[in-house]
């Protein structure tokens, strides 16, 4: 917690708690319900909500009456309240969306790109088109490690080091995160990891990216490049990985591993189509594709077990290809995981779940970190 010393800090803190509760709620909160949830009396709620309404952050609308008692109001986003941009930049495409208080996500624009950093120009143009006076922050998901929060490395696109600060204006507070981390955040906020204390999320695409979530917070590490779980030698492979290390877990799990099983050289973010085809064939009963998927699932499980020994997650969620692997080979994954778990842990293994946020996980996560900036006490202070 940042500085909290004076009663003014306390007020900001409580306003932030209220807005956070509204933002994170599964269903719209009533004013009375929010008061109960947060422990405020009706008098205090009146002043808090009043101030937030005056600041253009919250709006009250009549709630449908339910049962006895004086009707209360619903706490909804203010019609002129702040909106955040969220962008997801993938190997070959980009998406721009906006999010408002409460989590409503609306797609604004999307496109293909030419696998060069010119994509940032397209994104800036799209933002210029859609920006309004309400736009307050920007969150971006990118598909690679982000050293120090702005130096992007995407080796398989030959982006040696792309400095995001050169490609983006600083018109709004901007937060950036890699896709796996943000997909994990999305699961923690809106998906299968809600109310989970310690969890792991893995986004399996060409290879594996992941994030350790502690009380819903996806960890960043010292230089913002934590999460490369795919580049630990967890499955005994002898191959050299594109990252420069031998034996990486990602050599055996992900679309690249599927391609390699069929003799295709993986790399440069190509072959996703064929990967999907292998999964489809395996689902249809093709034996060779089935073996490729078997190997993938087994290697996945072994790695998950090893990581569970060290990090003791309550649950592990998967997105991307991981969802298919769970659907087709849950047994294999769980058996391999159990084999890799220390004996005394096997009675209570971590739950392994498919993420429920789906394809838009990184975009949703980018939206969340963007809106987090708006709800941050320092930002709030300026509006109140």
């Amino acid at each position: 917690m940042q500085q909290m010393r004076t009663s003014a800090d306390l007020r900001i803190h409580n306003q932030a708690r209220l807005l956070r509760a509204v933002h994170d709620a599964d269903e719209p909160l009533t004013r009375a319900g929010a008061g109960r949830l947060l422990g405020f009396g009706r008098n205090t709620m009146a002043t808090l909500v009043g101030e937030l309404e005056a600041a253009g952050l919250l709006h009250e609308v009549r709630a449908d009456v339910a049962g006895r008692g004086r009707p209360t109001t619903l706490l909804v986003p203010h019609p002129r309240g702040p909106i955040a941009f969220a962008a997801d930049i993938r190997e070959d495409s980009w998406t721009l969306a906006q999010i408002e208080l409460g989590g409503l996500l609306t797609e604004l624009a999307a496109g293909e790109h030419d696998r060069t950093p010119a994509v940032f120009e397209e994104l800036r143009a799209a933002m210029k088109r859609h920006a309004t006076g309400r736009t307050a922050a920007l969150g971006i998901a990118v598909t690679g490690p982000l050293r120090d929060g702005h130096r992007l490395h995407i080796s398989h696109l030959d982006w040696g080091e792309v400095d995001l600060r050169r490609h983006l204006d600083d018109e709004w507070p901007t937060a950036v995160g890699n896709d796996a981390r943000l997909a994990g955040l999305a699961e923690a906020r809106r998906g299968a990891l809600r109310r989970t204390g310690t969890a792991l999320h893995f986004h399996i695409d060409f290879d594996i990216g992941g994030t350790l979530l502690l009380d819903g917070d996806p960890q960043r590490g010292a230089a913002n490049i934590a999460g490369e779980f795919g580049h630990m030698p967890l499955t005994g492979s002898r191959l050299r990985c594109m990252c420069g290390v031998h034996g990486c877990w990602s050599l055996d799990v992900g679309t690249n591993a599927l391609l390699r099983h069929f003799g295709r050289e993986p790399g440069h973010g190509r072959g996703r189509e064929f990967g999907r085809e292998i999964v489809a064939r395996a689902a249809a009963g093709d034996p060779e594709a089935g073996r490729a998927v078997d190997d993938n699932a087994t290697a996945l499980g072994r790695g998950l077990g090893a990581l569970a020994n060290a990090l003791d997650p309550e649950a592990i969620t998967l997105s991307g290809l991981g969802v298919d692997l769970i659907r087709l080979r849950r047994d294999l994954i769980e058996a391999a995981c159990a084999d890799a778990l220390m004996e005394f842990r096997r009675a209570t293994p971590p739950r392994i779940l498919a993420g429920t946020v789906g394809e838009i996980g990184p975009l949703r996560g980018a939206a969340e970190i963007a809106f987090d900036a708006v709800l941050h006490p320092d930002e709030l202070r300026k509006r109140l």
Copy 2:
């Protein structure tokens, strides 16, 4: 942060901040200096310190005058203030100590034990002898995973599952942690990891235990059994580990691995003497011992690199045998670590350091978690 809503909570929070600052300070804080550090005016400091003095938590003594201006006071532990017990229970011995505000640690009693849970009886007797009205909390370090914070598994002592709640009274608030986690906490509070955001600590004894420290906080995992980094397959071993898994890192690093190099069967917490002898021989130039230590160091480095890829620590500290390995084979460790680091990380590898707290790390960590209970807002509320 637990509930923080009212101005009374704010006061407790600020009192806790002040006591925490006094406790964590490298040198005794002055009242004026603490005020500057925490951002309080002199008036507020007067009331805060006054209340803490009245509550028997803080005491003011005249400070040596330094330079101009009215002399201020030193903030020291109250002569009748709370004291916490700290205990360290190892495979064959136990220690009881006490800690007071500011971190002063005093050993009270110690002994050997018979490798059965009867050690807890000895410990209770020692505590009964040394308890006074000032005793306020108890922290214990144990050498094994502690499921749910009270179920202790020490497979190599054949302690299948020992429920600590049956062996301890609940006379005081009691906190328990495993030795590696508490050694890491000790480094974060009083050693080489002060002011380090993301760090890893490994305690290398017979095998490897570790902990991930985030802003000084050693992580626990969902069931309090995080930290078994030694039971991930990071070095390609084919052996079966006592934990029930194949290929564990601990098969190649630690005293057990040294023993195995010399054809001795490891296990049951025996052979530490011979392990020390191997280290001494290697230091003296014995080639066979040297090779054993080489292998240990290389395997250590490989594992550290793999973990750094995933967790991106700023620094890694080692205790136990790790201190000897750094002293004798720093180059090998760092080279193996670099080989296991993703290429783009090699320019800025994590610092690998020997812990500076020393042998008493687990005891010091136990003392810290015990005193943390005293400084916790809920406990403080009772005293104010």
